[in-house]
Amino acid sequence: MASSPTTVARHDTGIVSGACLVPWGARAEGLPGAAEVDLPPLPNFVVSRFSPLVAEVVRRCLAGRDVSGPATAVVLGSVVADATTADVAARDLASGNVHNPLLFFQSVPSSVLGAIAREFGITGPMTCLSARDDLPRLLLDTATLLLAEEPIERVLVIGVELEPQPRAQQIFAELAASGSTTRAPRGDVAVALLLNRPVRLPESPGTGLVDLGYLAPLAALCPVTAPRQGEGAI
């Protein structure tokens, strides 16, 4: 898994730190959703990579920073959210199998925010958003709204999308057919940005980020990006 390290502070831009996780590499080829490096486990989140991916990108983004207390808000955004958990549960049900009790609390994307809140002592507002179009811009707009409120001083913005499996592939195909410009990434992607001032998206994320799908503009805001195997910098 390629990632950006936790970055140096760039208060002049409003971006305090950032991290990006993408799973491309030789060992991931042909394995939808597979990563070059296994994600550190997140206790009890065993069915899907969604929550471990969120937790890991947040850990890298917040490493060494004290964000505890009510002055930190969190905004999590995803178009399809945790399709893996939803698909496993629905497939089991359709096949007449008994539900895995662990799916109970994994059924909503806000559960992982509880794990993040506990790990980092964050007690500010936490929200989970989805939109058909323009989700990265809407996440930053949401951060701007939150930064205008007392006592918020910083907002952790997280964008995450799993490698689309067949149902999610169909959703993205139907989105494209309906005129949406939202495109799926070609693998699991997670971006985390810690902001202390309003931030705008870059006008063009650069052609090297096209494989990150609709999350490319958000990833382009990461202060440092890691080289991708065989294709230069992302």
């Binding site: 008994v98 539900h99 002592g121 500010g124 709204l145 149902r167």
Partner: protein
Amino acid sequence: MTDHVVITGYGVFTAFGYGADALRRGVFAGRHRFGPVTRFDTTGFRGTIAATHPADPDVGELRQYPVLRRCAEEALAMAGLAEAPAAPVLVGTQGDHTVLSRWWRAVVAEEPPEAALPGLAAHLPHQLGEDLRLGHPRLAFQNACVASADAVMYGCRLIHSGHTEVAVCGGVYLVDQEFFAKFDSGRAFARDGRVKPFDRSRSGLLLGDGAGVVVLESARHAAARGATPLAAITGWALAADAYHVVRPHPEGAGLAAAISQALGRAGIAPEAIGYVNAHGTGTPANDPAETAALRRALGAHATAVPVSSTKGSTGHMLEASGVVELIITMLALRDGQLPPTVGLVEPDPRCDLDYIPGEARAARPRRALTVNAGFGGLNSALVVEVGEEGIGDGE
């Protein structure tokens, strides 16, 4: 009420049906609609009970989008807004999981699946915006049981900050097999088929159908077009427990913080609150934690203020809970009737507040709180206020 975010219209649906009168005949009359689920096969589940509305014989199976759309149309009509082309559309929903179920049933049966996009959470606000020619952004809020309260707060923020004059905010959840199975496997359902908030013998929650939409406006905009505000939302806050993935903080730390921040935003002391619509799920963990939160945030006033959970009547409407309970709270203020906690007979000693058992109580407070909590340890609080002119003229 000036310089506030006001509610000028609403539409609501529960297992009792559409509209305020259905709530008055059900929630405010101390009734419940729990019964065996017939919407889908419950064979193999431990639980079989939920609060569901029967299918409409004219249109067949109840589906999320048509229910949400009707609520939105009723809200806009009540607000007197023939069009709202700049109004953001903000909806609490996890998406229509019946679409997901059908997709997988087709795949398992080796048949071609139907369209998958209508099941996407973000599809609901988008389609609502397209069909009713509303504005942007069009966002789905997926933070569990605070989702539609969060959608309302987002609308409040957009209006308060001057980004928009009107916002259409709501939420929807209809009892479906997917979430029923998850809650069943998590052993979250009441074992005796009744929701008993704050009761000594409570054993869990039961799901219920719910949808609601409110039209929010700046007070200035409503006044300029001659619209009469139904109520104002003067305070709002979200706060996290930082305690556990799903269990609430046992001392209600996050919920107390949300309440205190909402009161602070409204610029009022706890004593100004005359009614609290509690989250009150009837689970062993929630109710004492919520009681602790109310004591922590309201101080000595916690034992004086009437509190009720309406989930003993409606069931737990998940993402729709926040907005439906906001509408119930607004009705309580406007009608001068505080809804009872249906199912409460013998209070848990740890739940020792005035939880309005039995039947509705006549009272005419001007301000109320409505609170919710959700997976992830997320907590919401909204302060609702009616003006002197708004009391006793329930529409």
